[in-house]
């Protein structure tokens, strides 16, 4: 290519770049209200914090508990925000008086009805949600439910069943969280009252706003609106917009409207109505029995949170590229953090056991740097010279990693006895 050609190419390039750049625009700035929201979230991020994984089974439980919490919360907020004579301190007294509750839920995604539920709650910690076909029509539901989820909660443990009447199938689940110290279990608080109180502590009465009056089913109602944390999908960072309409005569809630987004990001609008408080609820509504002729499957999830555990003397753990010298040695293991086990008692599916450990910060950084620089190589955990498995280098904490110990074919309780120093007490669990 001649010098003149090169010059021409350069000119064309410059001209094209100039013309392209003029097509640009100043990038939008982050809105100030968003900035202030994020800034306050960031101030809550603590040193050494990390996202905790919540097993799927617990997510279901969590969602259901959250729905109940939402309703209790609204009752409380309604009192707290009311203009006449009621103060926030009255909320506790009001909640204390509600021990059973039923309501209907209707969810629309866009204009389409996508969910229809009937929900029952009974203290302490009993819940039943009946899911009906979205097209079951308005008014009283005549068709039977297509899915029923019943959960019985107690501190550190949840038992439940999901029933599919159409298919004649039931799935029993049992989720246990153990801890060997003062460290609280990672499980969200399942006890209904404590969860509600936690929510209310976070929201002050002055965060509610009056939104005028309307008539609902012929009853004059006054409205309030609030922003509350979206706990339903375990995303407390997101705020959910809600409105509560209460009877102008006596103040009983008549309708709660919540606008949120589902996990796929679609806008959802859920209405809770037909509230009935302190109605007698038969214990059989919360019975976990599966009809005899139905198909049945069971799963059991067990999470052990170790507060001060390590590898037992003599147990070795090395991590490094497959077939090469290790990058970390046993001494780099700062602690054993968590054991998780999922079993399927009625199935040939083998148990799944996973261990999370904490490494010294330098050691975990070494591993991650190596993995980034050598993407075509496998890093392997050599556990006690017995098995080699590939770890997940990004665990729930900044210096944590996890790996699967299922190949040892031992239950978590036995792994603890043989390989870790932990004082966890199982009491037969």
């Amino acid at each position: 290519m001649s010098g003149m050609d090169k010059n021409n190419d350069q000119k064309r390039l410059d001209e094209n770049l100039d013309r392209l750049l003029r097509l640009g625009e100043p990038a939008p700035r982050m809105p100030e209200d968003l900035k202030s929201g994020i800034r306050s979230k960031l101030f809550e991020v603590e040193q050494g914090s990390g996202k905790k994984n919540i097993p799927p089974g617990r997510r279901t439980v969590w969602a259901l508990a959250a729905a109940a919490a939402l309703v209790f919360f609204f009752i409380a907020v309604w009192n707290g925000g009311a203009p006449a004579g009621i103060v926030w301190a009255d909320v506790q007294g009001h909640l204390d008086q509600v021990h059973t509750l039923t309501f209907n839920g209707l969810t629309r995604t866009g204009m389409q009805v996508t969910g229809r539920n009937k929900v029952y709650y009974k203290d302490p910690g009993l819940s039943r949600s009946e899911e009906y076909p979205p097209d079951a029509g308005s008014g009283p539901v005549k068709e039977g439910p297509r899915k029923i989820t019943i959960i019985r909660r107690e501190p550190g443990r949840n038992e439940g069943v999901t029933l599919y009447p159409g298919a004649g199938r039931g799935e029993l689940f049992d989720s246990v969280v153990l801890t060997d110290g003062t460290k609280p279990p990672s499980q969200p608080p399942m006890d209904l009252a404590s969860f509600n109180w936690e929510l209310m502590k976070e929201t002050a009465a002055d965060k509610t706003r009056r939104i005028g009056d309307r008539v609902i089913n012929g009853i004059p109602a006054v409205g309030f609106e609030f922003e509350i944390p979206d706990r339903v999908y375990v995303n407390p960072e997101r705020q959910v917009h809600a409105k509560l309409w209460a009877s102008a005569d006596g103040g009983a809630p008549l309708l709660i409207e919540v606008e949120s987004r589902d996990p796929q990001g679609q806008n959802m609008r859920t209405e809770y109505s037909d509230f009935r408080w302190n109605v007698p609820l038969d214990e059989s509504l919360f019975d976990l029995a599966v009809p005899k002729s139905w198909g049945l499957s069971r799963t059991r999830a067990e999470t052990a949170e170790y507060s001060d555990a390590g590898l037992a003397p003599g147990v070795t753990l090395q991590i490094g590229p497959h077939g090469r010298d290790p990058l970390t040695e046993t001494e780099d293991v700062a602690g054993v953090v968590r054991g998780e086990q999922l079993t399927h008692p009625d199935s040939v599916i083998p148990r799944d056991v996973r261990l999370t450990i904490e490494l010294n910060p330098e050691a975990i950084q070494r591993l991650r740097d190596y993995a980034r620089a050598n993407r075509d190589e496998l890093l392997v955990v050599d556990f006690n010279g017995q098995i080699k498995v590939v770890p997940n280098l990004y665990g729930t904490g900044p210096s944590q990693l996890s790996f699967n110990l299922s190949l040892l074919d031992l239950p978590l309780a036995e792994l603890e006895e043989r390989y870790f120093t932990t004082t966890i007490e199982r009491n037969g669990l």
């Binding site: 392209l20 990038a27 982050m30 960031l42 950084q365």
Partner: protein, 211 residues
């Protein structure tokens, strides 16, 4: 003495204080990067301001939670944040049921267009090409990918239409150095523009596009 006109001019952050989650430093860090990170995300989620806000929040919270992983000796903060933002965008779009990491209209960009862009030095772009909205969007996306100093220089030159003298004064450098800065910023823009274009066209063939 003339200062070096490189892109090494990210805001000075005290990482020791940031790692301790010192409130003042966290605020300074967030204020320094909130706008460029938001701009970076905005075009990559199809200008959906709500989604961009959600993704930006997830990005900054994730970044602060894992700030111990950031090593200033290995690179600058803004590219590290955009790396996290990309993952958050991918997750957010997946949650929304989108397979591709870019809005559907990118599918309109055809291979003729790809060839035209790649031949930037061999012919003058025709007006019809520049009139395509996808090209303008590519330009905006590429701009948000640049180091902060280059973004600022190009913004002042092309959108605020400041003179070389004014840009030099604002940067605290002489006019010659400002010219070099703009030249380097344009080269960086070209590289980003071509890389993003190439990844999109390649992504079309493979069914994925993640610039």
């Amino acid at each position: 003495m003339v200062k070096r006109t490189t892109a090494q001019s990210e805001p000075e952050i005290d990482f020791r204080r940031l790692r301790r989650r010192d409130k003042e430093e966290v605020g300074r860090w967030f204020d320094a990067y909130s706008d460029p990170v938001y701009g970076f995300i905005f075009y990559r989620v199809g200008r959906d301001a709500d989604l961009a806000g959600d993704v930006a929040q997830e990005t900054f919270v994730s970044a602060l939670e894992t700030i111990e992983r950031f090593n200033p000796r290995r690179g600058e903060m803004f590219p590290w944040l955009t790396y996290i933002a990309r993952n958050c965008i991918r997750k957010a779009l997946r949650r929304r049921g989108r397979d591709e990491a870019l809005p559907d209209f990118w599918n309109a960009v055809d291979h003729e267009l790809a060839r035209a862009i790649m031949g930037m030095g061999s012919h003058i772009f025709p007006e019809e090409l520049l009139a395509q909205k996808e090209i303008a969007e590519l330009v905006r996306m590429a701009l948000t990918n640049l180091p902060l100093r280059y973004q600022t220089a190009l913004r002042r030159c092309y959108f605020e239409e400041l003179s070389l003298h004014e840009i030099a004064a604002m940067e605290g450098i002489n006019q010659g150095a400002a010219k070099v800065l703009l030249h380097r910023a344009k080269l960086a823009f070209r590289a980003a523009f071509e890389t993003i274009s190439a990844s999109i066209f390649k992504g079309q063939g493979e069914g994925k596009a993640t610039p």
